[in-house]
Assembly symmetry: D2
């Protein structure tokens, strides 16, 4: 028997990626798809790459019978999401992919998102969805908040190191390279092929990117005291993939050993041999994360490189992994698809 | 129980694509992987994107115990293949992905490949692997010859039209656009990113491309008389994907109806509504083929557009589909992966 | 002394390309730049790649003193252009890059553009800007209408052949591959990097593309009777470049000789040796056109391949070339920039 | 009158870029082109994008009459170069684009390049070619050593800051993103379009990249004491462009003011307004460098971002700029070409 799920916001990239993953998932079936502005269209019209699937027609959210569903994936824009989720039946279990429930503290939310939170009780209830570090809470949660994709990459590189005390906490720098699908299906000049291909540039630099709110919240929790990191994302001419180059102070061998030990039993996290560094090519379209560590000619410095697919492990794959936990399905179900290369 | 298979030539793109597909195939398991020049390496070293799989180490072909295998995928270069396959045990069932056994007539082989065939008896025995048109022969075959990827695209567009007599046979033109992975992992200047990205050019134009041998052989068989088509392939700055724009003379509605009827029950072939044309984006990484038909302002002209992923349906996906038939597995097993978009 | 020119519509790609070319043009200087919605901005804000130039601030068209200008480049959208040009002082000399004045016949304009022309007298006066075929008219013209970029590619391949009578006129097919900048800076989903890179698709197929209006008009003029061609454009994952693969019936050697003779003295048109075919890589960012011809194994068939940069020779480079003629400057002035490779 | 120059190594990317730039240079003319393995070929055969130029046929170096030349550009591979330049007539003035003469200290050369230098006297004589910081020495030099392209990017960001003492010297990190043409025309699997497009990865990380030798040499010279930086280059799916993200400790406003003052009169170096960061798109194909500075939410931290085209300002454009100085031509001659966008 398959659990019936809905995807709210099925006309965006994370929505489509959810449908792609669920298409070959043995334990999930799509019961409803919503897209307010494209209601009444078929998914084949919105995303012809899903043409081979037998999918329900797109509807407005208010047309969905939530009582008939076991779980709701919510892939709606930031801010909209709060109102939608607040209006869902209390019994609905929800995996949210927006930014709305990632920060627990209403003040922190207001600081990073520039407006007060409209569903503070839900915010308090939501579990942060970085699966490997919140497994038990996720299993029991009603509402799981998917992480930022960049925030996930940085945390996979750093959480075990902060927890183990093997690196200095004052000098962490995350230089991140991101593919364009992370920006969603927004119609902006800088996302056009003509303006994005064949070049690169930083964005939201200087301590202004919203995922810093997640780093602050989570690293403080792990360290037991505030940890401020520097974070510079760059937009790259590729569609999928995040590569985080993380500069830390600590013994490189210790850094590597700590990560290797922390992730030894994780099905999706792979630590490469010491000195080897990963490529985003090697995880594209998959739920896997590859991590590598090198030292430097300057003693006491190390670089951790973490790669993932922002739409899969950084977003929709993580969401399915969390849904698996919530529904009591095997955690890896539907997620062992190999990356696509070349 | 899974059937044990070997992949000979596992260090090339079609070999890697076979491993990718078999990784989530419910009925196949990899028993051996060969790569003569990379013997003793692990697949993770050759293709880090397969790092998560538990795979046998690469070996030389002569190290493989063929008696322990149910089927052999042969993804070796042209010409080499003949000798290798001729030396395999007579009981081994083989799906070949090279060009060596596509042409039945030794003279035709010599004409297009410039040398005599070295295994003429096997050539006679081989079944042409265009699944939808040779299903029963493939089921019973010992040796199946995978089609050229371009040749498959052209045939999906044309075979039913030729068979039904709805188009003129003297005026067929196939203008084809192909991604670069079709050229394999060869080290050639024109395949470098710096020389291939951001531009396009024709190659093997003027009736010289070897896949014309397949068109000649197959279209003559369908028509019952020789059919010569014009064929111009172009290399595009993309890794996967073939788009064949096929110009025919005939009533466009008849052309569409003929294709729609021919493929109505095919699991992987989708004919779009009349007037809609497909994109390679919509089949990338999948075993699906999308076909579209439009008419023209000039009466009696039609254009058929056929798209597929050259590495999947055009090569390794086709090979797995044929292996499924040969092993008595469900034909679609392991092949219903959705395309990757974006 | 430099001639002072204005660029109307300087915030689009053809406008920016004009500024790029004029930046190193020995005989032109920019006197005014307009962009209604971006008026008061600097070009460095709109196009940071022009930051090094000392340019006037963007203004609204009505702020420009046309009396102080020797020539006006009009790079505005279709339909808008008619009204703008009709309102310019009668003494202004104009090179228009829009589609508004390409078709001489008001009925033909209405057919292809779906509305009546609003400046029929100007339409009658405008000279078609395909430089090599309208040189004397352009020299004397007040208003020159830049050609469609696809239309230019097709005409360079075909005009001499039609004029010389070396090809059949009933069976011409133009299969065209175009880079995305030809679509302009429009915000459309299919032009996003995430949706356009790594794949290809046809558009405006089946005899519906507006550049057919130009083919019809011009080929009829050359042939002295109607000539209908088939035309299928495809959108490719590259920013600049057009490659037209033109299928004709005629002796390939005659076709080659005819083109070679026609263009022997043209500074920007290069005919490759017989049998060699060009690549868009070889003309990117330049005003050059490369043409190649091959025969086919079927006697009496030939393929002509024509490549150009749609923004340069297909649009802004052509415009500068025409302006040079109109202003009595050397025709090649400012246009001998080598292509950019890789 | 034009100065006659030779390009040794004209079949590589930097050689071709030299020819591209010289093609429209008012003071230089190409007297000879060499390419040992492609001797006797035309440049149009090796680089069809240069087809429109009237160029001498490729020859072997020993066929060149150096007495007839005013200057020699040497664009040969590392190590080969030493022997070639040592054998040139003593009166030949040379701009070298290889790595062979960048390091003044034979021990440092041996450390980074793994072999003793074969022309130590020439090594001592060579002037380091970072134009803006060695202008007078270059004017007088017989042999100028072009800088590493990555090394140039890092130095433009850092030299004025080190000289002014506005940043801490112990904590400098250069995270660099580089286009693939920097790797040259080498036939390597990781440079194939199929393996490089659509993804990114670091290379030569952990203090092992040879350009660190240049950083060490030059920063020590500026600071008057050793300065060790961390440096991690990444390969990006683009052909041209370098973006260096440089993390420094210091007051961001001071950092910006120092760079702005240092480069106020430089024709090719542009410092953006404080807080604005540049894109490689904005310098592609040009000799311009754009620099930007932002602060961070952590006081006392700043990020400098420097972009350039690796083949132009990072290599062949720099070479022409240096040649201009050596020949007494205006420094910017032939180099004011606007970038190509999109």
């Amino acid at each position: 028997m398959r659990h019936r799920v809905a995807v709210l916001g099925a006309s965006g990239y994370t929505g489509a990626e959810l449908v792609r993953l669920i298409a070959t998932h043995p334990g999930l079936a799509i019961g409803a798809l919503s897209a307010d502005r494209k209601a009444a269209m078929t998914m084949a019209e919105v995303f012809p790459f899903l043409r081979h699937l037998d999918l329900p027609r797109l509807v407005r959210i208010d047309e969905i019978d939530f009582a008939a569903l076991d779980l709701v994936f919510c892939a709606l824009p930031h801010a909209t999401t709060q109102a939608v989720i607040a209006a869902l039946p209390r019994r609905s279990r929800i995996v949210d992919l927006s930014a709305d429930f990632r920060l627990r503290d209403p003040a922190l939310y207001q600081k990073w998102y520039g407006q007060p939170h409209a569903a503070i009780d839900l915010q308090a209830e939501a579990v942060y969805g970085l699966t490997e570090f919140y497994r038990e809470e996720i299993r029991a949660a009603r509402l799981v908040a998917g992480t930022g994709c960049n925030a996930a990459a940085g945390q996979y590189a750093l959480r075990p190191l902060i927890a183990a005390g093997v690196i200095d906490l004052e000098t962490i720098i995350i230089d991140l390279k991101a593919g364009v699908s992370g920006a969603g299906r927004a119609l902006r000049e800088n996302l056009l092929h003509a303006e994005l291909s064949e070049g690169t540039q930083p964005y939201a630099a200087g301590g202004t990117h919203r995922h810093l709110g997640e780093f602050d919240q989570e690293f403080a929790r792990v360290a037991g005291r505030p940890v401020l990191v520097q974070f510079t994302p760059h937009l790259l001419p590729m569609n999928r993939g995040i590569l985080a180059t993380v500069y830390v102070r600590g013994e490189a061998r210790d850094v590597h050993a700590t990560l290797a030990a922390a992730y030894a039993r994780e099905p999706f996290l792979r630590v490469l041999p010491f000195g080897a560094l990963p490529s985003t090519h090697d995880v594209r379209g998959s739920n896997f994360v590859h991590l590598g560590v090198v030292g430097d000619r300057i003693a006491g410095r190390a670089v951790v490189v973490c790669v993932m697919d922002n739409l899969t492990k950084g977003s929709s794959g993580q969401a399915v992994q969390n849904a698996n936990l919530m529904l009591g399905i095997e955690e890896t179900a539907g997620l062992m698809l190999a990356p696509l290369f070349p």
